[in-house]
């Protein structure tokens, strides 16, 4: 028994918490570590616009 639960139940218990943590890590990764395509596109446009003088 782990924390009063058998292996099958404990696996579900810990997986639930780990999956929620995975959701948070996913959010942090996309928020701070990976630049998203929607952000990149306008930057390219801006450069083109600058070259074109518009």
């Amino acid at each position: 028994m782990i924390l009063g639960m058998d292996v099958g139940v404990f696996t579900a218990w810990i997986l639930t918490i780990l999956t929620a943590i995975a959701c948070v890590i996913y959010g942090i990764y996309y928020e701070y570590l990976k630049k998203d395509e929607e952000e990149k596109t306008p930057v390219k446009k801006d450069k083109k616009q600058k070259k074109g003088g518009k």
Binding site: L3, G4, D6, A12, T19, A20, C23, Y30
Partner: protein, 638 residues
Amino acid sequence: MDVVFFAIFMAIFAAVFTFLGYLGYKKTKTADDYYVAGRSMGPIVIAFSYGATFISAVALIGFSGIASVFGLSILWLAFLNIFVGILIAFIFYGFRTRKMGLSLKAVTLPEMLGNRFNSTRLQSVSGLIIAIFMIAYASAVFLAIASLFQVTFGVSYQLCVIIFTVVVGLYLVVGGLYAVMWTHAIQGILMLTGMLILTIVIYAMLGGVGPAHEAAADLTPEDLGIPLEMGTVSNPWSFSTGEETIDLISNHNPNASGFAIDFINPPDGRVNISTNQDIVIAFNYQVAPNTKEVPDRFKYICDPDPGGWTEEWNENYTQVTLSHTDFEIGTSYTFEVAAAISGIGSPAGTQAPNGLTSMPPTLSPPFMMILTLIFGVGIGVLAQPQLIVRYLSAKSEKALRRAIPYGGIFILLMTFTAFSIGPLCNVLMINNGLTYPGTPDKVIPLIVSELLPEWFVFLFLFAVLSAAMSTASALFHTAGASIGRDVCEKGLMKGCSEKKSLKITRIATLVIVFATLIIALNPPAVVAILTSFFFGLMACTFLAPYTLMLYWKKTSRMGAWAGMLGGFLFTMGWYVLVYFKTAPQIIGSSLINEYVWNMLDPIFIGIPLSFLLTYIFSKLVLQDKEEKKIVIKAFENI
């Protein structure tokens, strides 16, 4: 609980939501505004709205009650709720749905199907299926919450149903999806607060996570509730009357195991007992203390019956003395203990055979029940039309990505907490001399009302009300859109203007709210039966065409029709003819009475069948030219 407080808070509740409805109305200029909140929602509102729609009052109270009966093994559902319901749903379905919805200019799931497969008929039929079952589902949600408020506040059930339906209908029809999603954010915060406090308090009462789980694990089936073992003493037994009053004879039963009768008085075969001789029965475990809610708690039959029976139990509820109107002299009597339940009278004693913190034996009936729940709800979440609308309302893919952590935490704090505290309620009931309240959905309300302060009872009730309102408003909105947009505008009144379409949808939503009100006021039994399987039905009907539409460019119109109708008809047929919970109530008995098969949720066969049919028919009847053009358009942003 003071009914005046209820009225005041309900009025504030209604006022806030109506104000948000008004703000939504001001912001709603186009059909897109009404159906998908102008595709402008940010991550927090999306996450809260998705979570509040997903987690209904049934999930909070019903599932935690189910956890009190089946134990912590139901935590697998909490895992799937986050893993499938958030991670898989958003990453593999959400982003593509939003992009394809934009390309196809679709605002509902039926419209996506209709536009993708170039078939307004497909859109109308799927819209009709969704609307019909959503009305039934929404009425079941109101039924549950109104019953709870009736018990707690003593307000009439009919009045509760009318108040709740009118409040939700008002802000929904006026404010559209803007109002729905904003109210969801507030309702979600209330739900989070209520569940978080409840969980912390319950674990604190039991000494923390480890000790609480250990206390639950230590409960024996006899503590929880198992039926009386028959045949360990003479039961039924006979005696005849005369003039002798006999003292208590303790003929202790050494062979008693499990929950059994320990001794009886007068003993079997005794003759000449006094006409006013009491019947004394002792048990080797406590019998569930007196509660009218558990019908088989303690039943006895005396033949012939002198009548006038009264029960007097000892302090531990292990021995009962039964007094009666005097027996007839010179008559032979047969007495039988027909039923008794030990402990607190909870079905957990038999439904969690390995204990509340252990998995049940593989393929045992409790295992199959849990499996059904886990997959029915856990997988079914992927194809819920009311949740798919949340993806379509996102202002950007980034907003959807950012909604994932909020959604994950929200679902964790709702389901993980609700499912964890359920089994612990048994420990609290035993420690505080409470008895199982008769049905699982009354377990949490019992603990809250008996063991927590009044202010929290109040907060908890409004948290549950929020859960019910948020789910119901999302269902009304989706069902209204299905009838207004998918059935009327695209099916019956092709080519009408956007303004007219919006008007039709508002009227359709009103009709749906009204229909729900009528059903909730006089609910037919079949509504409650079928709506409990709403998630499974939607998954079997829509998951295959929806998934393949997003991922397989060669999915054809005929494939979508075959998958949708095949999954729908199979699931309905299985529920009506085979499934052990529904078939006996609809047709009298299951057509397949073989164990495991009749307990198997249709989702296990319905989803693969629907995928297979979609694939085979897409191969057999290929896309026409128009469909091929649409495919290019649908995938242009993916």
